[in-house]
């Protein structure tokens, strides 16, 4: 009987946490409530991982960087003053960690980039996709840090210009400038293979 009540209470708590906003979860995490913190991790981990993966071009450090960012949050959840901006805070911390690590280490070995996910239906398509993906990945990896981050947030993450500006602590005008330069630089870096890549895109029927 007591077990059933405990299970119901736990389920109730879990429901409450699922519905709780980031602010409530941060307050609970500040009181060392691991379930609340786990909820925050479940809510934001994927997004932070995707952004970091793209900033590091899939470097093996990605997982460490994401976990370091969440560990900083766990160690002091109340440092996020505006709970509505937790996503921005996490992106900022993770991207700063990624950029710092990249600067401390030797320049990124673009040839060591991981293979793309194996989701192409045929060997031919996979070869085409890998060839083009590698070239595009290298071009993105060679962009300056802030241009790359702006491109990742707006183009790949679908964030609004206001959200991206908040995450990068710059103005909306600066975001537009970074994006424009990033896209021009991308085309310039790929100009020798531009037509081939577009043909590959056509063959893949994307």
């Amino acid at each position: 009987m007591r077990g059933e009540e405990g299970a119901k209470a736990a389920a109730g708590t879990s429901d409450l946490l699922a519905d709780a906003d980031d602010g409530a979860l941060l307050s609970a995490a500040a009181r060392r409530n691991r379930a609340a913190f786990a909820r925050l991790v479940a809510r934001h981990y994927d997004m932070v991982h995707r952004v970091t993966w793209r900033i590091t071009s899939g470097h093996a450090d990605t997982e460490d960087i994401v976990q370091d960012a969440f560990l900083k949050l766990w160690n002091n959840p109340l440092q996020v003053r505006d709970s509505g901006a937790l996503r921005s805070w996490l992106i900022r911390v993770a991207s700063n960690l990624a950029i710092d690590r990249a600067r401390r280490k030797s320049p990124l070995d673009i040839d060591s980039l991981p293979e793309p996910d194996d989701d192409a239906p045929s060997a031919l398509e996979r070869t085409i996709a890998e060839g083009s993906a590698n070239q595009v990945d290298r071009a993105i990896a060679s962009l300056p840090d802030r241009q790359r981050l702006a491109l990742v947030l707006i183009h790949f993450e679908g964030q609004s210009n206001i959200q991206a500006a908040a995450a990068m602590e710059v103005s909306v005008e600066a975001i537009e400038s970074l994006l424009g330069r990033a896209r021009r630089a991308l085309k310039e870096r790929l100009k020798d293979h531009w037509r081939e890549i577009l043909e590959d895109f056509g063959k893949l029927g994307r």
């Binding site: 994927d46 899939g58 994401v66 990945d137 491109l151 707006i154 609004s160 991308l186």
Partner: protein, 153 residues
């Protein structure tokens, strides 16, 4: 068409690409209208968007997320298991008689000190030889050094 609007369309397309869903919300509808009348302005941005679509997709983070949550949970359990609650130790309170004895000893020491302070001398506290010898050098025995050196020399 308003040249400023076209200029703005070209800036927005250069930054955000050809997909209006990425354009700034407040300007979207009027820019979309302008784009419908000038589709060629979007051609280059369309190409760049297509090229970006070929970029690799991040791998799943489920495993790393689970590992991180396990580490956080285990950290808590490890901390909890390291804390051993000991029964609180009750120190025996000193008896009232012992407290009075200690207080009386301290009071007697104080009274004796005051008494000594009222006397002119404290020579009577030392043996007669020591009390009569006021020469600190002799007390240290250094007066014999010259004799010793002569013997050695």
């Amino acid at each position: 068409m308003d040249s400023r609007l076209l200029k703005r369309l070209s800036e927005v397309v250069a930054a955000y690409g050809a997909n209006p869903a990425r354009w700034p919300k407040g300007e979207r509808s009027r820019l979309e209208e302008a784009a419908r009348e000038n589709p060629r302005m979007l051609a280059e941005a369309h190409e760049i968007d297509r090229v970006l679509k070929l970029a690799s997709t991040p791998r799943s983070s489920q495993e790393g997320q689970a590992r991180f949550l396990r580490a956080i949970t285990h950290e808590g359990q490890a901390h909890a298991s390291n804390v051993v609650s000991l029964p609180s130790r009750v120190l025996p309170s000193p008896s009232r008689a012992w407290a009075w004895a200690a207080a009386a000893t301290l009071a007697a020491s104080l009274a004796f000190g005051i008494y000594l302070g009222t006397l002119d001398t404290t020579d009577f506290l030392f043996s007669p030889d020591t009390a009569a010898n006021d020469d600190p050098v002799d007390l240290a025995g250094l007066g014999d050094v010259s004799d010793y050196l002569e013997d050695q020399g």
